[in-house]
Symmetry: C2
DNA sequence: CATTTAATCTCGCGA
DNA sequence: TCGCGAGGTTAAATG
């Protein structure tokens, strides 16, 4: 990885056009050729960047650029599209290259997939007599997170979100409409399950006869642990 | 801005739990206290990070950490939530601080707002006799991007997206349902206009009698230019 | 300040 | 490879 601190202006042309006036910034060139332009603020998103696959070339400034004080130009082109980034460097404060090696990568825990796995494992938390049919039940318009049966043997489609918003209710509604048109499956009722359900989403769901369930990730994991401890 | 190259492991606890095994990485500490952990690959997203407002403190490794070879621990805490990042540093390769000053910021061109302005200006590209009623036409559930009339004087609601997906069709459908209940407006037809329309979105839209139009930003801008050149 | 919506979204999974 | 959905989405605009 190459890290350069430089006074520069930047222009991007591609899916949109963007311009960064002259200022001192951090330029990061990664092993795959991608370039990031960071300022000393904002959040993790760079002010400007080029995603891989791309290649970076250094060019000599033209007459106008040289007259403006540009000493070096980086031309970064995307390999598959016409996206291009031009970094006009006026002054280099620092320029260093490091060998970082390959990163072992991030290990995550607590995302929607885990919620789904935990709820499937403890499907009875939805009510007495509930039994799992299958996770990721495929339909023509996409997979239903969990398909199960309630105590009366009625099919139930469960949509799981970390944060339940209107989009999720719309999604479940589409699944229910489709599945209720299938005589093999109908009638199918719906459960909208999330760690947190926005009031608007709850209202919409209940208005459509969809039951809302708030999931407690730690509690589900706790059940997991205490059950394992029985053995 | 402080830039550190170090062999480290990182743990995040907050909305989820995440762990980065020991490796050499770039650590960026911005003026607002935010921290970014970058590897030599991936895109512009850091492997791990802490968003502002937050504060970073250096701590002495405990006994176990020291036994593992940790020489220094960064504890980064978010100011408003319980999110925390622990960077366990084993070896510092480089550590430098730079004064970048305040960034003048990015100037953009070519986003959805511009598409809307351009299409409103050239509403006749939707068909002969089309006329603009108004942009951002307010309804009880939000603003319709463009309201216009077709050649027969029938009211048309236009939803504009850069990339047309199912959500956009749902949104337009809600507007149309509402507006068609209003005797002053009904009947209202719909147009889903985007630079790119996903097949599923197109299918859903056309199934609901909504016309799909693919917009060409450069062409609309070209019309703009050539019209201006007439004067 | 909360809410909504766009994003050069990125990222990962599955067909 | 492409499409689709999730994201510690982030970030900007708006009521």
């Amino acid at each position: 990885m190459r890290v350069v601190i430089a006074k520069c202006s930047v222009d991007y042309e591609g899916r949109l056009t963007a311009h960064l006036p002259l200022a001192t910034r951090l330029l990061m060139v990664k092993a795959d050729g991608s370039v990031l332009v960071h300022s000393d603020g904002g959040s993790y998103k760079p002010l400007n960047w080029m995603s891989p696959p791309c290649s970076m070339a250094e060019a000599v400034p033209d007459e106008d650029e040289a007259a403006d004080g540009v000493t070096l130009v980086w031309v970064v082109r995307h390999a598959k599209s016409d996206d291009a980034l031009r970094v006009r460097i006026h002054e280099v404060v620092s320029d260093a290259t490091y060998d970082l090696g390959v990163d072992p990568g991030l290990v995550k825990d607590g995302v929607e997939a885990h919620l789904q796995a935990l709820l499937a494992e403890h499907i009875h938390t939805l009510g007495d007599g509930y039994s799992l049919v299958r996770r990721e039940f495929m339909t023509a318009i996409g997979p239903v997170d969990i398909l199960c049966r309630d105590g009366d043997g009625v099919t139930v489609a469960v949509e799981i979100k970390r944060r339940g918003e209107i989009d999720g209710v719309e999604q479940l509604t589409r699944y229910l409409e489709l599945m209720n048109r299938d005589p093999h499956l109908a009638p199918v009722t719906g459960i909208f399950a999330a760690q947190q359900i926005k009031p608007q989403a709850r209202t919409l769901a209940e208005d459509r006869g969809i039951r809302c369930v708030v999931l407690d990730y730690d509690e589900l994991k706790g059940i997991d642990t205490s059950e394992h401890r029985l053995f």
